[in-house]
Symmetry: C3
Subunit: 348 residues, 3 copies
C-alpha cells in the first residue's frame, strides 16, 4: 500500500525542483488518465504533454521543457528515472523471508543460505546451492547441482535444468526455462540423430528474464547471459549464445545457436538472428528484423534480411512507390516505342 507524503519530500527524494505548492499531500502515483486529486502523475513522452491541462492529479513530474502554470510540478532532467525513484518510495519492495515450506522437496546436500524463502511445491535437486535472501516461488523446479545467487527471485513454475548457474539479484519470471537441451541433431531431416547437450547456462548478476522465455544449455561449454542484461517474455535463446552486458532483448526475439552479441545491444521485438555470427557493441536491431550476417559495433539495422537502417528507410519508401514506378515504366516503354517509330519515319 502507498504511504502519504508531501510533494516537497518526494521532490527531494527524486532530485527535482518544485514549481507550485510543495506542501500538497500525495497519496499515490497514477497514470495521467487515471490520476485523481491526491495523486502524483508524470509526463515522460512529449506526445502526452497536451494531457497536462486535463489531468486531475495534484502534481505532475515533468521535464524542464514544461513550465505550465496552474499545476504543481516537479521539474526533473529525466521524468522516467524520476518516476522510477518515486515508485520505489511509494511501493518499497517487501522482502519478508518466510522460510522453507515443509511442502517443498529439498534434495540431499543442498546448501540453503540465510533468509531464503522456499514456497510450497518447490523442488530443489541434490547438490544445489541457494544464496542468501533468494526467493523460490511455488512450482519452481531446480535440477541437481544448480547454483542460485543471493537475493535472486524465481517466480512460479520456473524450471532450471541440472548444473546451470544463476547470478545474484537475478529475476526469472514465471514459466522461464533455463538449461533445456540445445536443438542439435546430426542429419537433420534424415534420421535426426540427437547430439548430447552437455554444457550449461550461466546468467550473471542483475539480469532479468521475462515470462516463458527459454534459454537452452550449450552443447559444450556454456550459453551465457552477461551482467545487467534484460530479456523480455517469450524470447528464444539457443545453445552457446553469448549476450554481452546491459543488453536489452525485447519480447519474442529468437537468437540462433552460437551467435555472440556485444555489450548494450538492443534487439527489437520479434527479430530473428541466425546462428554462428557476431554482433558488436551498441548495435540496435529494429523489431521484426531478420539478421543474416554479423554486424559491427554501433550500427543500427532494420528489415528482413537486415540492412543499415538508413538504407532500409530508403528502400521502404521505394516499395510504397512500386505500383507508380511500374506504371511509369510501362508509359516510358510506350512512349519510347512511339519515338522509335517516329524517328524511323523521319529517317526515311
Amino acid at each position: 500500500m502507498a504511504i502519504n507524503r508531501e510533494l516537497r519530500e518526494i521532490a527531494e527524494h527524486i532530485g527535482g525542483t518544485i514549481s507550485g505548492d510543495g506542501d500538497v499531500v500525495i497519496k499515490d502515483i497514477r497514470g495521467i488518465d487515471d490520476a485523481r486529486a491526491g495523486d502524483l502523475t508524470f509526463i515522460a513522452n512529449p506526445q502526452y504533454r497536451k494531457k497536462l491541462k486535463e489531468t486531475k492529479a495534484s502534481a505532475v513530474i515533468v521535464s524542464s521543457e514544461i513550465r505550465e502554470s496552474g499545476k504543481n510540478l516537479i521539474i526533473v532532467n529525466d521524468p522516467y528515472i524520476a518516476l522510477t525513484k518515486a515508485l520505489a518510495l511509494f511501493y518499497p519492495e517487501g522482502r519478508n523471508p518466510t522460510g522453507i515450506s515443509s511442502d517443498a522437496c529439498i534434495g540431499e546436500d543442498a546448501l540453503i543460505g540465510e533468509d531464503v524463502t522456499i514456497y510450497p511445491g518447490v523442488y530443489v535437486g541434490s547438490g544445489t546451492r541457494i544464496g542468501k535472501g533468494a526467493i523460490l516461488h511455488p512450482g519452481v523446479s531446480l535440477g541437481n547441482g544448480v547454483v542460485i545467487g543471493e537475493d535472486a527471485v524465481l517466480y512460479p513454475n520456473v524450471t532450471i535444468y541440472r548444473r546451470c548457474i544463476i547470478g545474484n539479484r537475478v529475476i526469472l519470471h514465471a514459466g522461464v526455462v533455463v538449461g533445456s537441451d540445445g536443438f542439435g541433431f546430426a542429419h537433420p531431416g534424415r534420421d535426426n540423430m540427437k547430439v548430447p547437450q552437455t554444457g550449461i547456462v550461466q546468467i550473471d548478476d542483475e539480469c532479468e528474464i521475462g515470462a516463458n522465455t527459454t534459454i537452452d544449455r550449450a552443447t559444450l561449454g556454456k550459453t551465457w547471459i552477461k551482467r545487467g542484461t534484460k530479456v523480455d517474455n517469450l524470447v528464444q535463446i539457443a545453445h552457446n549464445v553469448v549476450i554481452g552486458e546491459n543488453s536489452v532483448i525485447v519480447a519474442q526475439v529468437g537468437i540462433s545457436g552460437s551467435t555472440k552479441l556485444g555489450k548494450s545491444v538492443i534487439v527489437g521485438g520479434q527479430a530473428g538472428i541466425v546462428g554462428h555470427i557476431e554482433i558488436g557493441n551498441n548495435v540496435m536491431i529494429a523489431a521484426q528484423s531478420g539478421v543474416h550476417e554479423g554486424i559491427g559495433s554501433n550500427n543500427i539495422v532494420a528489415g528482413s534480411p537486415h540492412r543499415p537502417h538508413r538504407d532500409w528507410l530508403r528502400t521502404q519508401a521505394c516499395i510504397a512507390k512500386l505500383p507508380e514506378m511500374r506504371k511509369t515504366i510501362k508509359t516510358l516503354s510506350q512512349k519510347l516505342a512511339i519515338l522509335e517509330k517516329e524517328l524511323e519515319d523521319l529517317k526515311e
Copy 2:
C-alpha cells in the same frame, strides 16, 4: 463419451432441416476423412465439398448450397455454428466439482466460493477470492490478493501474480502467465534501471487465453483484456495494453506497451504492434504484419511495415515483377541511348 441420438433429434437441436432419413442413429461426430458408418460429419469449408461423395459418414451437416442426393443431410445456415451445437450435445461439458485437495496450499484469508475444485499442487496466496464453480488444475499458482471469477477454469501450471483480477467464465490454458512485470527500464542499453511495476492485469468475463501466453502487469493502472476477447497460444501482451470486447488475437502475436485496441479487432498470427498507439474498432490485421502507427476503425491492413490491405496486395504483385522491371529499365536505358545518338546524327 458420446451418446447415441437420432438424426432428427440432432437436426432439431441445431436448427437444421433434414434431407434424407431422419431415423438414422448417430453415435459420434468425426471429421470428413475419418468418419465411419454411424458418424455425423460436416462440410464448413466449400473446398472440402468434393469429399461429400467419398465420406463413409451416415449423415453430413451442410450449408443450404449443397443438396446432394444419396446422403443424409442436415441443411443449416452456418455449418460451423451447427457443428458447435452438435458437439455440445454429444460432448456435454462435465463439471463435477471434486472439492479442495488436501495437497493444495490455501493462504490465510482466502475466500473460496461454493463448488470450487482445487487440485493437488495448487498454491493460493493470502487474501485471494475464488468465485463459485471455479476450477484450479494442478500446479496453478495464485499470488496474494488475486480475484478469480465464477466458473473460471485455470488449466495446469497457470501463474497469476499478486492482485490481478480474472473475470467470470474465463478460461486460462496451461502455462499462461498473468501479471509478470512489464518490461520497463530507464536508460535502456546503459544501466537498465528497473521501473517498479505496481499496476495489475484485469481480464473480463468470457475471455479465453491460450497456452503459454504472457500478459504483463501495468506500470501504473491496469493491463486490460475486455469481455469476450479470445487470445491464442504464445501471445505477448505488454504492460498497460488495452484490448476491446470480442477481439481475436491469433498465436504468437506481440502487442507492445500502452497500445490500445478497439472492439472486435482481429489480429493474425505472428503480427507485431508497436507501443503507444491506438487501433480502432473492427480492424483486421493480417498475419505477420508489423503495425507501426495507429489505425482507424474498420480498416484492413497487411505487411511490415503495415499498409492498407489493397495497397499491400498491389505492392506485393509489383515485388514479384521486380526482376522483370529491372530488366525493362535496363532495356529502356539502352534503347534511349540509341535514340539519343540517332537523333544527334539526324540533327547534324
Copy 3:
C-alpha cells in the same frame, strides 16, 4: 563426469582414423575456444578451420579435407556425427529409476510400468497409462486417460491434457503444453462462440519437443506429430495439424489449423504457415517465411509471402537496388521528355 580415454579408443568408437599420437589421454571434450591440454575438440564448420592452429586441445576431430601436421587428429567423414558419438562415450546417459515419490498424486486406475520415475509434485490423472522406464519430472501434470510411452522423458512443468497419447522415447522439454483447446470460434470478432475441441494430440515414437512449445488438441480426430520429428522451443502447432516423419521445426514457428506437412520437412525459425494447406515431402522453408499456400515435394521456399528460394533471392537483389532503379526511371523520364521535344522540333 567425463572419464579418461586414450585417443585410439575414441577413434575406434567413432569410426575415425588417427593422424598423430593415438596414445594421448583425453579427459574431456570442449569447444575449440575453450579446449585445454587433455581435451578433445572438433571442427564441424569449415569457417572455424583457422582456429586449428590456436587451439590448446590435445586432439581434434576433423573431416578428411584437413590434414594439418603438428596436431593429433581423428579424421572422419562427418565431424558432427563423430562428436555426437564421442559425447555419448564421455557422457553416458544416466537413467537410475528412483521410483514413485510419495509426494506425487497418482489417480485411480493409473497403470504405471516398471522402472518408472515419478518426482514429487507430479499429478497423474485417472485411467492414465505410463510405459516402463518413463520419467516424469516435478510439476508434470497429466489429465485423465493420458498414455505415456516407454522411456519417455517429461521435464518439469509439462502439461498433457486428457486422453492425449505420447509415444515411446519421446522427450518433452520443460513447460511444453500438449492438448490445449484448438483456437476455434464461430463468428470471430462478433460473439466468438467457442467450438468444443473434442479430439486429441498424438505424438509418435522418438519425437522431441522443445521448451514451452504448445500443441493444441484437434477439434475432431487428432493433431499428429509423426515418428522422429524434432520441434524446437516456443513453437505453436494448431488443432488438426499433421507433421510427417523426421521433420525439423525450428524455434518460434507457427503452424495454423488443419495444415499437413510431409516427411522430412525443415521449417526455419519464426516461419508461419497458414491453415488448411498441404506441404509435400522434403520441403525446406526458410526462417521468417510466410507460407500462404500449399507446396509440392522437394521445394525450397523463402520470403513472406513465400516464393521459390531462387526467385526470392533474385527479388531481394532487386529490392536492394530499388532506390537506384527509382532514380534511373526518373532520369529516363526526363531524357525521354527532352527527346520528344527535340523530335517535335525536328519535325517542324
